[in-house]
């Protein structure tokens, strides 16, 4: 198991290096005019040159990349060119917002998807048809549409929930919970149905295997077959689906954070990318890749624990 973890961690580090190098390369060759954006319309050419020099934008690619890489290895991601905030502080403030919203959404989605998927696979009938219908609806109606509709109904028309904003849990636990409901709701509704459909298929697939029939013929209780054997065998597919949903939600949070004005990673990344704030973009890339690697590692570990064949591979 230790070798398995080490192999996964090493491949994660390699992936991180490749993605960040590629990202730096892309940012370097596409971002332009930072000094103009910082100094505005009235800035003179000498002001622009001075600002470019101050930010090191007049230096060659490899010099800038090397400086960034060596500093990043030491945990120094620099400061934003646009608001002078330390990247590490900014990420420490924003990552919890995104991870909380996405984490709670994925947790609720997972519970609902497993319950619905199991019911559809085992009971069949109207509930199966309903899950399949909801799955199609889930694909057809994106999270932002649900977000906009729910804001209009629950925040503006009924004034029951806040339309925008984020309240830290340390400041006001009830306010925190209220600020979470609508964004989480939008993400859950958009993902639960499709997850349930995938889990239904995985359970159904296992449920119809010969070895399950053999277990049943040996007189083992249906409940035991389901919870002890079928769920365990179907879990890897379900976990993979949920981990993909998690990564998808991280991307989808960009729009949700924008609609609800949540100070999370998504909004931070969009603002920084639009402005050409390279240190911020790189900081976001590093932390997002790390989160994705960690999630995949955890899923791999669980899969390895559930299925020894994975460890051998």
């Amino acid at each position: 198991m230790l070798g398995f973890i080490v192999r996964r961690l090493l491949s994660g580090v390699l992936l991180l290096f490749v993605i960040t190098t590629l990202a730096y390369f892309l940012v370097f060759f596409t971002v332009d005019g930072v000094a103009y954006r910082l100094l505005g319309d009235s800035a003179t050419q000498s002001d622009i040159l001075a600002k470019n020099h101050e930010l090191g934008l007049d230096r060659p690619f490899f010099a800038r990349y090397w400086d960034w890489l060596t500093a990043a290895i030491h945990g120094d991601f620099g400061t934003s060119w646009f608001n002078n905030e330390r990247i590490i502080d900014a990420l420490a403030n924003r990552l919890p917002v995104t991870v909380t919203v996405v984490g709670i959404a994925i947790l609720i989605s997972a519970i609902l998807a497993v319950v619905l998927g199991m019911a559809a696979a085992i009971k069949g009938g109207w509930i199966d048809r309903l899950v399949q219908l909801l799955a199609i609806a889930g694909f057809a109606v994106p999270a932002f549409v649900i977000a906009v509709i729910s804001v209009t109904i629950f925040a503006i028309t009924l004034s029951l929930l806040p339309a925008t904003g984020w309240v830290p849990i340390t400041e006001d636990p009830v306010g925190w919970l209220l600020s979470l409901i609508l964004p989480t709701f939008a993400l859950v509704i958009a993902t639960v149905a499709s997850s349930a459909q995938q889990i239904r298929s995985a359970i159904k697939n296992v449920y119809e295997r010969d070895w399950v029939r053999t277990l049943r013929s040996r007189g083992i209780a249906e409940k035991e077959i389901l919870f002890k054997h079928v769920l365990r065998a179907a879990a890897p597919s379900g976990l993979t689906v949920l981990s993909l949903q998690f990564v998808g939600m991280l991307g989808g949070s960009v729009i949700i954070e924008s609609i609800f004005a949540l100070p999370g990673m998504g909004q931070y990344a969009v603002t920084a990318t639009g402005a050409g704030d390279t240190p911020v973009v790189m900081g976001v890339v590093v932390f997002t890749v790390v989160v994705v690697i960690v999630v995949n590692l955890v899923v791999d570990l669980i899969n390895g624990w559930l299925n020894p064949k994975v460890r051998v591979k």
Binding site: A43, N83, P263
Partner: protein, 501 residues
Amino acid sequence: MKHSKRIAASVAALAVAAVGLTGIAPAQAANKTDLVIGAVAEPTTWDPIGANIGHFIPYYQAVYDNLILRAPDGSYKPNLATKWQVADDSKSMTIDLRSGVKFTDGAAFNADAAKANLDAYIGGVGPYTAKLSGTTVSVVDSDTIKLTMSTPNPEIVYWLATTGSFMASPNVLKTAGLKTKPVGSGPYILDSATVGSQYVFKANPSYWDKSKQKFSKITIKFLSDATARLNALLGGQVDAAYLTAGTVAAAKSKGKTLYSNSRAVDYKGIVVFDRNGNKNPALGDVRVRQAMNYAIDRAALAKAVEVNAEPTTQIFSPAGTAYKKSLDNYYKFDLAKAKSLMAAAGYADGFTLNLNNWVEPNLNALVESYLKAINIKVNWVQDTNWYPNAKAGKFEAIIMSIFQGTDLVTAETATAKDGSWNCLKYESPAMKKAWAALSQSGTANQVKVQTANMNQIAVEEAWFVPFYRVLHYVATSNRVKTVVQAQNAVPYLYNYAPTGK
């Protein structure tokens, strides 16, 4: 049965919990000793060197005082300067300073502090630091300073009343800490800042002018998304918000008080850079540029894209003296005249015009159709860096919304050979003559005469194809009122006041 009961109980419990939770109304800005503003932008730095106008200036006004105050109507009032005198030749200025003012770290505001601030600003690199370049500051006595300009600066008072004189404690000037933590003498103190989210200011207990402290606490929420700002206003999370044309109607229909800034701030239109015709020979012919002006139905365009925008064919602001009412309608929509000008210029069959792919697809579609009527085919250049590339001279023309500053700022940026919006350095004989006349003597009167002259020349020679002046909208709840500010997209912070409701 047992299971059903359990499920029913769970559902009921969830429902009760949901009702209990949602029964608690979201934090409303009920106590109007507070003010919550939904803003489009957030400051890039708290160092006064980086101070900017427009959406940024209210942040700086919270924590810093400037020497001169600009009233909503554009007139100038004493602030940290009690009185001032600009020499007739606009090459020097004497300023008397207020006594007894202290910064929040206890440092005294005096002539030395004012000089240290102005020296730091003049020597720094910021959005408007160039407007004071060449100025030297000398201390006359403990509460008097004198500014000496290397060349006439007839708009020195404007700059000192906007971005050029926010006073920070001399103890923190030129320190890295000033970028993230302001120390000023302003009506409020920055209490907490969550960059990208919100800034909370509490009243400065030892502030010298209590009339500027109408709220005990001010929160500025950074809501870059227009719909999020509208929702925050309608949902009661903010008392005031800047609106876009697309969100004005919704705010109005929900009973919010709407303030439209008729003191022109920006104009939108085509800025033709290649008047020499080096990139696109057709644009070098004044008749072609005039034809483009005649081909645009500005009234229809404004109605389709904006809310109450003011059609115009000039780029100078009505807030200044260079503006002429008659130039708002110099090129009346006349397709026949446009076609005859195109034919006279030898372009009856048209040409291809390269424009940046502007952010409003509806505006782009209409402009394309108007120009197509005179056989000009628009090629929308897909370039995410079009702004810096335009500044670097890579575009022949762009569609843009441009700030209408003071007369001299507009003239300098748009009509001077090295102007930041004259990206291909065009200079016509008439404009060159006007600039020569202005350069001989930069007195306020000369600025008045020559900027009006430059406006006339730019319109007659069709340097631009302006569409309209864009109105800016701010809406407030019934608990707060405000006053629009001359030449600024949003009201100054001092303009907000509680209504008592």
